[in-house]
Symmetry: C2
Subunit: 329 residues, 2 copies
């Protein structure tokens, strides 16, 4: 692979294990509704034994975003670490079959591939419980400078701050990208994740990131305010470009000069919110790397997010390029 890449994503390589449950289950198991909670092996076994029949769909935030970019017709690559096991094989197959370049070697240890047990409640909210497993083995050595240099945007998920060496990989990639004159994008991932690494994330956003993605909970956590409008104004002071999502209220694209409101894409029935932010980022970055104006980037982003929340799982069921053709052009 030597041509130009639109987006290279770096993130945790995760297989999602999705099941429906009611709110009583969330309460009984002591889960934090709507959040991503890290769990260890024992808790993973406890939760899995308690939850209902599930289905497995490849996931991982940055991986979902790169699959979305490929589904829109863009060139995408992914960097993340699976285990040397069946779930790792499933993850690898799915991301490659989606057209994303992926050649990171699996972990050499026996640590299993990461999985996220995702409980979807009747209100379509998803509660994620993630066992990181082999993701802990992503290191700076997995960052191929040649790949990063060729990517217009290097996109990373905030969750990378959880496995310690992955953070180093992230920083190495950001440095290489900037030295090559390319841009670095970051998704804040989750408000609890922001709170875990608050000062580091503030420094990162102010000094190392060109394009920021965040939802309401994440951006208000980042700037330590309860007021979304204030958070948006602070973002405007510190970022060249940010896309702030607000669920059914749509999103706002923030630049130093303007705030552009983008409506949410109307969806008949919201089934599962898993991947909404990831696919929003796909749409935005696809438009951005193809030279579209910010409003068009936002509309593609909304459409991609709308597709993903209309079914279970965080990988598109309909080729997004077809949707763009039929709905936006």
């Amino acid at each position: 692979m030597s041509e130009v890449i639109d987006v290279v994503g770096i993130g945790n390589a995760i297989v999602d294990v999705l099941a429906h449950c009611d709110d009583a289950f969330i309460k009984r198991l002591g889960l934090t509704k709507g959040a991503m909670t890290l769990i260890d092996t024992a808790r993973a076994e406890e939760l899995y034994a308690a939850m209902g029949p599930a289905i497995e769909i490849s996931g991982g935030c940055a991986a979902n975003t790169t699959v979305g970019v490929a589904s829109l017709g863009g060139k995408a690559a992914f960097i993340g670490k699976v285990g040397n096991d069946q779930l790792g094989g499933i993850f690898r197959h799915d991301v490659r079959a989606a057209g994303v370049h992926y050649d990171i070697a699996p972990a050499t240890s026996t640590t299993p591939t990461a999985r996220s047990m995702i409980l979807v409640t009747p209100d379509a909210e998803r509660t994620m419980n993630t066992y990181l497993g082999a993701c802990h083995e992503l290191t700076p050595a997995d960052i191929d400078p040649h790949l990063i240099q060729r990517a217009k945007v290097t996109y990373m998920e905030g969750y990378l701050w959880d496995p310690p060496l992955a953070k180093e990989a992230f920083l190495k990639a950001a440095r290489i990208a900037h030295e090559a004159g390319q841009e670095v994008a970051l998704s804040l991932s989750d408000s609890f994740c922001v709170n875990r690494y608050l000062k580091e994330f503030q420094d990162l956003v102010k000094n190392h990131v060109d394009i920021l993605f965040a939802n309401i909970g994440e951006i208000t956590a980042l700037w330590e305010t309860n007021d979304w409008h204030e958070a948006a104004r602070i973002t405007q002071q510190h970022c060249d470009l940010a896309a702030l999502t607000r669920s059914e209220l749509g999103s706002v694209i923030v630049t130093p000069d303007e705030m552009i409101e983008i409506p949410a894409w109307p969806v008949d029935r919201i089934v599962d919110l898993t991947g909404a932010g990831d696919l929003y980022a796909s749409g935005f970055l696809y438009g951005y790397t193809h030279g579209r104006d910010f409003e068009t980037c936002g509309r593609i982003a909304s459409l991609a997010a709308g597709e993903i929340i209309s079914h279970i799982g965080a990988r598109p069921e309909t080729p997004l390029a077809e949707l763009v053709l039929s709905r936006l052009v």
Copy 2:
């Protein structure tokens, strides 16, 4: 578990790997559309590499049927062999989480759990390509006489004839069931499977089976005729009870005295035919083991089949007992 069981199912323990494809893919890969084809490791790798992003959902014909019985509120148990691996753990979790009793030890070898690569074309037809793996290690020793004796119906899939020792397990279970005064049901599974074991299946149906399930292709293959009506008449001569399914034409319940026509359940959009026959059997056997008349058994069967073809995968998305309450009572 010591109470009475409605249905114990014996079958291949399989995780389905489902992906959409077009008819050109079926042709290019030389697949037999609509059939179940057995594949070896090399072919499995070739197919997996060629197919698009997939999702994993536990499957296996008899396992699907027992899950359906449990979803209807019945007591069900399953006998089948998984490998000692991640996919085996997924299969075990899903069947148990559905409320089905399952305590068969995994294979002691390193042979992996069976998987079926299922390609779903735009017409909702499914083309199955099954690597049997650990299913080959089901033996008569896995048949617990105490479990079979307590089951009103011992249900087996014709596919059990493929792994050699599983057939012996099947025959052992049938003998135990009959000695305990219980009944034996068989699904013919697939017309190609019927053709592989024609004489044995004819003997089985004539002499060892109390309740027969078959679709048009299977029953005409069994009696070596192209005429469905003739096949139904021959069935009437040899079987005490049979349910013959005819896709959108509905089904016919055949006894020595009558043929009862049951309409197909109307479905808004048929998404994936995987599991239609398995869930038809769930509904029929749930009604039958709860003393309902044949027409009611058939209507529950049609409803269960209708639910399963309205979404991807062969495990119910909606609790079937709720559907019966809201649609049939």
